[in-house]
Assembly symmetry: C2
């Protein structure tokens, strides 16, 4: 089958053997989304080798559960060992022996077929188009914010970074009843939030609200965004780190101690939360689609996803 | 009056004008303790100029409250504006207009006399000797850990750094019912904790418990300690930052996100908590006293406090 494969030296569209079920489920991929993490992995982060991609929607092609065949599904990316205490509690996201779709020891979704455990798959309501369902994974990651810290109508909350992750985070916060402010550099991206009634703010113009936010979500993926996010926080405020910067990040730890800040790392959410938001049309993902390109043009699509001003690039398998 | 004063270029024992009450209380200092923060300030951190010192015990010499005169007291170091919401709630520790004893815009306690607002002073029970009462401020800082995060008998908790701050932190955690492990490099210092029934561990020998602690307190004040503290944490664990590193600290932010760690800055505690622990003899501070030296030898005392193996150096005014 055709797949977008990372090897030493870069990514390429390659013919690879079709995945074999071995007790898991084979999904025929309809669409897969390119994430910034894909771009980092392609640059060599984490030493992953294999098929990229962890955002997908597809149709079950083969399964030990015959009734599942033909179902349209999205997939949780963490595949746990199934036996440890975390897995037994139904949350394999921190299982130490986990594989992670297209990230850790498991071939990913930028391919015609992908293999996942049956328990990782969730059926997609008919109300949600493929090009929206493919956002379930990153939208779930945005939902993970509110899984880790309470955010309500009275929380002064900001999101730093107007890329696709920031635009999802700010919409999730708004859907949860908060009135977040989005800080970014791109008028066209801020406008997407503003169209949803969310205040957008060019960071360089901000002075009045420095040091005032209870919670700031760092979603820019840039060191400068990290510093900006800290500057927005009040004493005893909380910084939620959503984006991974690879390599070391410099922090002003004296500021963290003196102002008694809290920094909370946040990674994967629950796809069910994301599907519920999409089903309720509580978030706009359509505005985040920059391109839909055939999988065969995957290398070009990766370059496209890196361009300034581009949001989500979707591959069609 | 004699005082240990920071100026451009270093610290020196100097004769300075006696403090004038201006509605506050004048305390005749009996003893003051040298903190690592004093050493950092003497190196130029934070641009402070004036009398150093923020750990003291003394006797009220003049006060608008006549009944207070002659009382033996310790002093909270944050002096708030008295009018903002934080101050009105009784917690000036994050008042934006605060002065901080010997740290921010307020002459400190390495002096024969010191001035503080009456509301900052707490009477010391007769059961507590001066050389122990002078630990109230750093011991309160150790108590601040449990003010910010829950720690109980079932919490797997470690302290990194066997200096005076680490030794106070680990004893507070033990007094709160936890069974902390102290990681350090100095057998003689680990032995102080071990004498209290607290497990001491040479960090270089530790491999088995990497990635297993729920909570790790960083009290080493060193970048290496910060990295070591992160390495001890389990996924979704909490790092409590007690010591300030001046200059930028490098963190592996990808680790913070992927393992969803929480980092909590922690600064000042409440002196009442510390006095209660001292009164109950729930912590051993006597073993932390390396030297008691006259204020007149303050410059030598500062050098002494920087020597390897030395714990608390106390000045006697």
């Amino acid at each position: 089958v055709r797949a977008l494969v990372v090897r030493e030296g870069g990514v390429s569209i390659t013919d690879v053997p079709a995945p074999v079920a071995r007790g898991e489920t084979i999904v025929r991929v309809a669409m897969s989304g390119i994430c910034n993490t894909d771009l980092e992995i392609a640059r060599g982060y984490a030493g992953f080798r294999g098929t990229l991609g962890h955002e997908l929607v597809g149709v079950v092609e083969s399964s030990e559960d015959g009734a599942a065949i033909g179902a349209r599904v999205v997939g949780e990316i963490n595949a746990g060992c199934g036996r440890c205490a975390l897995c037994e509690s139904g949350d394999p996201r921190h299982c130490r022996a986990r594989t992670v779709l297209g990230i850790v020891n498991r071939d990913g979704a930028h391919a015609e077929r992908v293999r996942l455990p049956a328990r990782n798959l969730l059926r997609v309501p008919d109300t949600i188009a493929d090009r929206h369902a493919v956002f379930a994974e990153p939208l779930a990651a945005a939902c993970a914010i509110v899984e880790r810290i309470p955010v309500g109508a009275d929380t002064r909350v900001a999101v730093v970074g107007d890329g696709k992750l920031g635009l999802l985070c700010v919409q999730v916060l708004a859907a949860r009843g908060a009135r977040p402010v989005l800080y970014g550099k791109h008028a066209s991206k801020l406008a997407i939030a503003e169209a949803r009634g969310i205040e957008g703010c060019s960071f360089v113009e901000e002075h009045a609200r420095l040091g005032t936010y209870d919670v700031v979500v760092e979603a820019s993926g840039a060191n400068a965004g990290f510093g900006a996010a800290l500057a927005l926080l009040r004493p005893r405020g909380t910084l939620v780190l959503k984006s991974t910067f690879h390599g070391a990040t410099e922090i002003d730890s004296a500021r963290v101690v003196v102002d008694e800040l809290t920094i909370v790392g946040s990674r994967c959410g629950r796809l069910a939360d994301a599907l519920a938001l999409l089903d309720a049309r509580a978030v706009d993902v359509e505005s985040l689609v920059s391109d839909v390109m055939p999988l065969a043009r995957g290398e070009e699509a990766m370059r496209r996803a890196e361009e300034a001003g581009v949001l989500k690039v979707i591959l069609q398998a």
